[in-house]
């Protein structure tokens, strides 16, 4: 009799699901490995009784520790999905907008997308990480790190303002 009762939970129930903070922390580790520490990410968790907020900041030690806030995630305390991914890159994604109780600020909602599941969350984070804006930023930070703190041999440093000030009047 017991064998006749079907499994109604569907085939897509997976045991690999992770919380957004675990996903982002793993991605921070991967970034550090991929860039050999030239760029790394700080994952900052902020909790209020109802909402959990995660900030994802890129850091570049060779560029005076510059901090670039790439994205923000908001979700409920127990119900980590749906999660709102907030980033200017979200306007590139096909997306559902979060409800005002999750993202109350109008501007933030305009640049948000709602991830209803772990898979959707991964997709949206991938959109952000692989966007032209992020790629340009990472390229710049990695290049500056490769340059190091000293100029390559043979390059002459000239003060731009001083050079302009000393230029004779009338010269472009």
């Amino acid at each position: 009799m017991e064998n006749e009762i079907p499994d109604l939970w569907g085939q897509d129930l997976k045991l690999e699901s992770l919380t957004p903070v675990m996903v982002l922390n793993t991605q921070a580790e991967k970034l550090k490995q991929r860039t050999q520490g030239a760029v790394y990410a700080e994952v900052i968790l902020r909790k209020s009784p109802k909402i959990t907020e995660i900030l994802f900041d890129l850091r570049a030690p060779a560029v005076h520790g510059y901090r670039f806030r790439l994205l923000k995630v908001r979700h409920g305390d127990v119900m980590v999905y749906p999660a709102a991914v907030i980033s200017p890159n979200m306007i590139l994604a096909s997306r559902a907008l979060p409800q005002p109780d999750l993202v109350p600020d109008d501007h933030e909602r305009d640049i948000s997308a709602l991830a209803k599941s772990y898979e959707e969350f991964n997709k949206l984070i991938g959109v952000t990480f692989q966007s032209p804006l992020t790629r340009t930023l990472l390229d710049s930070l990695i290049a500056k790190s490769n340059e190091g703190l000293t100029l390559p041999p043979g390059v002459i440093l000239e003060d731009w303002n001083e050079a302009n000030n000393q230029r004779p009047l009338g010269e472009a």
Binding site: R46, H64, Y66, R67, F68, L70, K72, S87, P88
Partner: protein
């Protein structure tokens, strides 16, 4: 080394009279301008400033943030961009390292307007800003910080006074003593000298018969609201304890040295200039 700073919310203005006033202020010795709501292209402003015979050459300080525009004429100084929030560009955080003086973090802010945000919502945003400032100070490795800007809150609003928000207290003694309170542990205060600028009365008998000073930086003329105090002190300068004794001068300006920045009623000349008054301050670094 004394450095003179001026913050002004110029409301995207590029009117000739406004530009002339800015030039005259530069002529009075302002070395660093911080403009909220700057024009999208700063080159007009820079051209006018540098053509004026002030004897100083101004350059735009580079930052990815567009929130507050910095123009500086300090020679032999280094500016370092510290932070950019691609989601909410609320503060511009630059570190100034003069050649022969102590470096500071100069954080320019333009926070959310009360038009669309309640007082508690603005306080909540102020908590986020305060948290970011603590983080930036951690990155810089010091707490010699000035927060200056149009905070869109008054010195007595929750976002300014709450420990977990900007935690800005009204006296230098408090800025020291509150650090010993258990309830405030972990939240370094700011000293907020703007408390001393509230109201029109100039301290002492010299005020008698005079027109008084600007009572705030912005006039909100809501005649129907029976609880409004009309004058707002939205534009503020806050200093961490490490810098509060370096403040040499602080003034809300009602004149650029030649023309009045206020109407006959003493209100900002929003038609020709801006609906906020500039705040001048000097630090001995």
């Amino acid at each position: 080394m004394k450095i003179s700073f001026l913050f002004w919310n110029i409301g995207n203005g590029q009117k000739p009279q406004l530009l002339q006033s800015i030039c005259r202020l530069a002529g009075l010795g302002v070395q660093v301008f911080l403009f909220a709501e700057p024009p999208a292209d700063a080159s007009v402003l820079l051209d006018v400033l540098n053509r004026a015979a002030t004897g100083a050459r101004f350059d735009q300080v580079a930052s990815r943030s567009k929130r507050v525009l910095y123009l500086s004429s300090i020679q032999d100084s280094t500016w370092t961009d510290r932070f950019f929030d691609s989601i909410n560009d609320r503060v511009t955080a630059l570190e100034l390292q003069p050649a022969d003086a102590t470096g500071i973090l100069l954080i320019g802010a333009h926070l959310l307007s009360p038009v669309n945000q309640s007082s508690s919502s603005r306080a909540d945003w102020a908590r986020d800003v305060a948290s970011d400032i603590r983080r930036i100070e951690g990155d810089a490795g010091h707490q010699r910080t000035v927060l200056v800007g149009d905070l869109n809150m008054n010195p007595f609003d929750e976002g300014l006074i709450a420990t977990t928000a900007l935690h800005a207290v009204m006296t230098r003694k408090l800025a020291i003593s509150v650090q010993g309170l258990g309830a405030r542990e972990g939240f370094l205060p700011f000293y907020n000298p703007m408390w001393s600028c509230l109201g029109d009365r100039i301290p002492g008998p010299a005020d008698l018969g005079q027109k008084g000073r600007p009572p705030g930086t912005h006039f909100y003329n809501n005649t129907l609201d029976r609880t409004t105090h009309f004058w707002q002190m939205y534009d503020q300068v806050l200093l961490r304890p490490a810098l509060m004794d370096k403040l040499r001068h602080l003034e809300i300006l009602d004149s650029d040295g030649q023309i009045d920045l206020v109407t006959a009623e003493g209100r900002p000349r929003s038609d020709a200039l801006a609906d906020h008054l500039p705040v001048l301050f000097e630090l001995e670094l």
